[in-house]
Subunit: 400 residues, 2 copies
Amino acid sequence: MNIKYFDHVAANPMIPEVLDSMMPYFKEEFGNPLSVYDLGMNARIAIETAREKVAALINADPSEIIFTSSGAESNNFALRGVALAHQNEGKHAIVSKMEHHSILNSARVLEKMGFVVTYLPVDKYGMVDPGTVRKSINDETKIISVIHASSETGTIEPVKEIAAVAHEKGIVFHTDGVATVGNIPVDVKELDVDLMSMAAHQFYGPKGAGALYLKRGKRINPLIYGGIQEGGRRAGTENVPAIVGMGKAAEIAAERLTARMEHVKKLRDKLIVGLKNIPNLHLTGHPDKRLPGHASMVVEFIEGEGMLLLLSSKGIYAASGSACTSKALKASPVLLSMGVPSSVAHGSIVFSFGEDNSEEDVDLLIEEFPKIIEKLRAMSPFSGKGWEGIGEGGKCTAKN
Amino acid sequence: MNIKYFDHVAANPMIPEVLDSMMPYFKEEFGNPLSVYDLGMNARIAIETAREKVAALINADPSEIIFTSSGAESNNFALRGVALAHQNEGKHAIVSKMEHHSILNSARVLEKMGFVVTYLPVDKYGMVDPGTVRKSINDETKIISVIHASSETGTIEPVKEIAAVAHEKGIVFHTDGVATVGNIPVDVKELDVDLMSMAAHQFYGPKGAGALYLKRGKRINPLIYGGIQEGGRRAGTENVPAIVGMGKAAEIAAERLTARMEHVKKLRDKLIVGLKNIPNLHLTGHPDKRLPGHASMVVEFIEGEGMLLLLSSKGIYAASGSACTSKALKASPVLLSMGVPSSVAHGSIVFSFGEDNSEEDVDLLIEEFPKIIEKLRAMSPFSGKGWEGIGEGGKCTAKN
């Protein structure tokens, strides 16, 4: 079956040159970067070269990049590491309700340790208001974390404005850039963030490679203690091939960023137009301030998982923002926090485009998806008047 | 230059079949294991197959294996995760002075959090006495961690006996099996340990893949919080290719274990015989209860780093147990805790053998190493009467 992959927020296929760049480090260059002989030195040099490339992609200094194993590790490291490094000065943290589980669950751990956490509300687009951030700050606040863009809604948050609010009070600001780095322009100096999480497999690099940008001079406690790797800030023998691949993926992202964005935006916009006549389908997230290759929506009267399975039977792969994969059929907390009713939130579906997609892929999606919706709705126990929605996207009419 | 690699404790070259097993997961099988469609399911199945293979290598149940990114992560996770899960019952931990930095520095973090940690002394072979463990236990003790074998001294600790002492008092016992799993027979049921750390690159698998054995029913707090990966115990998108490679390396280790041990023991013993006439060279670690492919020694009047550099100029790669790589010219704390004088500990050197070594490799080492020692000693500012040593290994005579 010819696969149409529209789930780039879950994982990206690696670019072949990225894999090529990694291969020597699986073979002859297998040394431990801490070893003094040349096999070790070659691995050290490879890591430092990758560090320069990742730094260049986000306009950081190489010394400000700490390699980790994943975006989730970077998020845990950032929120908990900064909170703990400052715990004697204050024990209040602020995060948004749009955060990834790795931030939300790290926040809950801080609560168990005696921290107070404020969970910022969002508007109907999933947008955090910098004014609300300002009002949430108190004398105990030492860390604020707001996601750069949610992979569930695609909404790009005003992190520059929120960072400015944080810095007015001398508070450290972290943003989870897992969905943005390599996919839209990200400049840590222009945004003026203090920490930013990244994951290589979100920009056509390998799994097992993440990074944390930590602005020079900012304090953090390690998450993984041990040896002197990463300047003593992240222990463990470095995953040299994955780090090299992350560097190569960053280099390619920097070169192709404009073309990449234009390509996926064109496909996304084509899909949106192609779906506009489906009744009771509502786009979610911000209409403009969003990831260029990201289309998220709720389809009333049916469940996200049903759509995914029927799409998959046609070789079309997408994601549901709902928490089906956790086996608990709960509506997505992110959508609920945006005011989407629980019954509607169950019908969440996300299409995320990549370099590897073509217009023909989208044509097939536009052909198949409405038929699948029709089929599922014919079987659906739900009906009645539809949700009035957020006034964007497809027409919102009652089913009957 | 034809390389003779005797630093398998630092990193192993990957077995080609291991890399072959990983390749599909870098290419067409790039799905996120959480995705519901078949690309995700294939990744999930690959992870579960790897889990079975790793479990089989140590006689565990697959449900008792948690994949991590490294041995260091597994050690942090184990010691801190168990200590924190039990902190309301008691805040005393016991570790040995032979532990890896990832345990020792995790112990220090626990101390900062209000825990009390006992650091167990060792004898001249680096061996922990189970009786000392028993005497160190108090009502607050909830976790004991003793390394299975030190990569610095090669000594295999009596973990079965220590586990039995821990269990007399209902205390959880962890062992760091990074140096042993895949290199000597390891049976978690026979040893009766509750947790064991592993790292794939120590048994010819990839970097970036580690695991923690956690006996069913034992409580642990996650180190990395977030999604539902690894049963909610270790978040972050799984490094599927590395996990698959770890599984393959475990499968191969199980098949080849006896041959692997015999091969490296033969080479190690040949080296020991070949070096026996070097004066003021003392073997370190236990003479018999040690890793089969591991030769560790101190060479008086010279520095480990000098030996490594001159060896490396001949294409011979080895490690120094001393902390040169940390750029701080401190003597190894492990050797000091075994009673080796600081001046002597600086001359530490470790040769660790692997499947890829041949008898000819060892012949070259036996030819070159004495010349290098002679050369360095001729330049050395140190002299005088040598250390009387531990009564094992090479002849111990005064230099002049």
